[in-house]
């Protein structure tokens, strides 16, 4: 990400803000899709965008954090706040089965890229495990940062991450065994 562009956007230069949004838009859409509350994607994406512009000043371009890491943190925190406002159920999400009762993915693995299979398998994970995996493994956030976002101890995040990895490794097993050069186009 162009730090200079971020700096310009922080000065409320609308062109810079628009260019910045064009650059990070797909990432925002991906984060909302993977972390957001189901069924409100368009609303959430808009809310996230407006929130990002509102708090853009808080990013320190001279600081140690990369902009995309900071953005991931901000968006995740916002989505979690939204989720808490709209908490739809009271049972702990992590009490759900570790592996969804879907047909054996190996039956469908042939001819499909690992990315496609992984995206599909992610949707089957309990929300807490999915967020832990998306933030730690995909977005590269430190476990302590994920724990801080989720407001749970680091041990809980480790546990969720381990369960997520176990579920994904089991459900994607044959696809993960393929040579990566051939399996990932």
């Amino acid at each position: 990400m162009d730090v200079e562009l971020v700096r310009q956007a922080q000065t409320r230069d609308r062109r810079a803000q628009a260019r910045l949004l064009r650059d990070v838009g797909p990432l925002l859409a991906a984060l909302v899709r993977r972390l957001g509350i189901g069924g409100e994607g368009a609303d959430q994406l808009q809310s996230v965008t407006l929130h990002l512009l509102a708090v853009l000043d808080r990013f320190d371009p001279a600081g140690p954090a990369k902009f995309t890491t900071w953005l991931t943190t901000v968006v995740t925190r916002f989505l979690l706040m939204e989720r808490r406002k709209h908490r739809p159920e009271t049972i702990p999400l992590d009490d759900r089965p570790l592996v969804a009762s879907t047909p054996d993915p190996s039956e469908h693995a042939e001819g499909q890229s690992l990315e496609v299979l992984l995206e599909r398998a992610l949707t089957q994970l309990p929300a807490g495990q999915r967020r832990a995996f998306v933030l730690a493994s995909m977005q590269g956030l430190e476990l302590t940062a994920v724990a801080e976002l989720e407001e749970v101890p680091v041990g809980t995040i480790k546990s969720r991450l381990a369960r997520a990895r176990m579920a994904l490794a089991i459900s994607l097993g044959p696809a993960l065994d393929r040579p990566q050069s051939g399996g990932v186009p």
Binding site: A18, L21, R22, A42, E115, K158, L161, M166
Partner: protein, 477 residues
């Protein structure tokens, strides 16, 4: 493989094990085939996960929706939801950038082709020769966020600064999207579709906390969003392509007026010191008054026509909002960069500067005008002090009170006056908005209602027989 084994491997992948634990895992990897296979799968999984960025669907979601909606018209708003305007910034910029480099620009707003002629002012290009993105125009839709005074802000009035540049088209081709607070009331209409802010705009409710403002007729108005602690005003202009005969009226440092000029090749302004002209898009000019005076805008179009518009720039007259006060109940008004305060009737209200704020205290019932000098401008506030009234006084005129049934369509009030109506036995009642108050008499037969400022709101009444009445209330001066 037990869950504990997976947890161990997961920590190993994260490098979260102690050196001794890591050595133990690595020794086991060489002897335990299942353990090694699981570790290999975790490694592949992590590699795939790190490579998994936004998908093509995410890119498409972000970039395609806005241009579709902008070109498709208002109806698609309801199909595609509020995503469109927010996405307009990115998408329209992308559209502009690509079309400008590929050939004649196609306006996403009008669908008209706009040839790029060899004019003295080549409007399609930025000063550095690159394509002229439509960012500043499109991004306005993103930035019109109405913020409320915080819940802990007490009685502080939010500063009333009109957001310059807010505009809608009369045809609704460029509506404004507002992000609002759940507790916010827009001019007393509480999100219901219908006339708001005189008759020039309407506010429609979109899913979530989004509201869309579209033009109903030409004009300008102020959209007020209010909640407990204060309110915000957004100045809106509903504009169309001005006719050659019509004089464009601007205000010094006022909101930018956008005029549509499809097919514009070049333009010229007679007195640039009076009006600042900026080309917002290939088909739109933004005009802002710089100082009072008159001048003429001339434009030449691709079809060979030439038009002139007289422009009148009026001095700034900043009219602040009416502020309702109660006797002996202080209220804080935020007033930054104010060098002088004047109040025309100090016997009605006491004014004390407090840093960047002003403490207003009503002394007796009445009305006073507060003028705040801010640089070269003066902002004027009307202060209305409501005299205390006891419940008995409120209902003193109850004998002749008309029954509620006499207000089937609208209950009209005069600001500051108390209207008593014979409600009959009620189970409950409530009013929408913080500037409208209602109180029931002790015998439960009368309802006194008063408004502290001009408004449109509603009175909700539940009768003992279970019927619900929803009575529009309009308060005027």
């Amino acid at each position: 493989m037990t869950p504990r084994d997976w947890e161990l491997l997961s920590s190993w992948v994260d490098g979260a094990l102690t050196p001794d634990e890591a050595r133990a895992v690595e020794q086991r990897l060489s002897t335990d085939r299942d353990f090694a296979l699981a570790a290999a799968r975790l490694g592949s999984l992590e590699t795939a996960a790190r490579a998994l960025g936004p998908t093509a669907a995410d890119v498409a979601t972000w970039t395609s929706t806005a241009s579709t909606v902008v070109a498709g018209g208002l109806s698609l708003w309801w199909l595609l939801g509020p995503l469109a305007l927010v996405l307009a910034a990115g998408a329209v910029v992308a559209t502009r950038t690509s079309t400008a480099t590929e050939g004649p620009a196609t306006s996403a707003l009008t669908g008209q082709r706009e040839p790029r002629g060899p004019a003295p002012h080549d409007m399609e290009r930025s000063p550095n020769g690159g394509p002229m993105p439509d960012a500043s125009f499109a991004a306005q839709t993103l930035l019109l966020t109405l913020l409320t005074a915080g819940a802990d802000a007490g009685p502080t009035e939010a500063p009333f600064t009109a957001d310059a540049g807010a505009f809608v088209d009369d045809a609704g081709t460029r509506p404004i999207l507002l992000q609002v607070d759940e507790r916010m009331l827009l001019h007393g209409n509480d999100w219901e579709p219908g006339p708001v802010c005189e008759t020039s705009v309407r506010v429609d409710r979109l899913p979530g906390r989004q509201r869309m403002v579209t033009g109903r007729g030409l004009g300008r108005c102020r959209l007020r969003a209010a909640r407990d602690g204060g309110s915000r005003t957004l100045e809106l202009h509903v504009v169309d392509q001005p006719s050659a005969e019509r004089t464009l009226e601007l205000v010094v440092d006022g909101a930018t007026t956008i005029v549509r000029v499809p097919g514009l090749v070049r333009f010229s302004i007679g007195a640039p010191t009076v009006v600042a002209v900026e080309r917002k898009t290939p088909s739109r000019l933004g005009l802002q008054g710089a100082r009072a005076g008159t001048t003429t805008l001339e434009a030449w179009f691709a079809d060979g026509t030439h038009r002139k518009w007289p422009i009148l720039v009026k001095p700034a007259e900043l009219e602040g909002p009416s502020i309702a006060l109660k006797v002996k109940v202080p209220k804080v008004l935020s007033l930054e960069a104010t060098s002088e305060l004047r109040v025309d009737d100090p016997s009605v209200v006491e004014v004390k500067p407090l840093g960047k704020s002003v403490l207003l205290t009503g002394l007796k019932g009445g009305r006073a005008v507060l003028e705040a000098v801010q640089g070269a401008k003066t902002k004027r506030f009307v202060l209305e002090v409501l005299a205390p009234q006891t419940r008995n006084e409120l209902f003193a005129r109850a004998q002749g009170a008309p029954p509620l049934a006499d207000f089937p369509e609208v209950l009209r009030l005069r600001v500051g006056a108390v209207t008593v109506i014979r409600s009959g036995p009620l189970t409950s009642f409530s009013v929408a908005g913080g500037w409208l108050e209602a109180v029931r008499s002790e015998d439960g037969q009368l309802l006194a209602i008063t408004a502290s400022r001009p408004l449109e709101s509603h009175l909700f009444v539940q009768r003992d027989d279970g019927t619900l009445l929803w009575i529009p209330v309009v308060a005027d001066r």
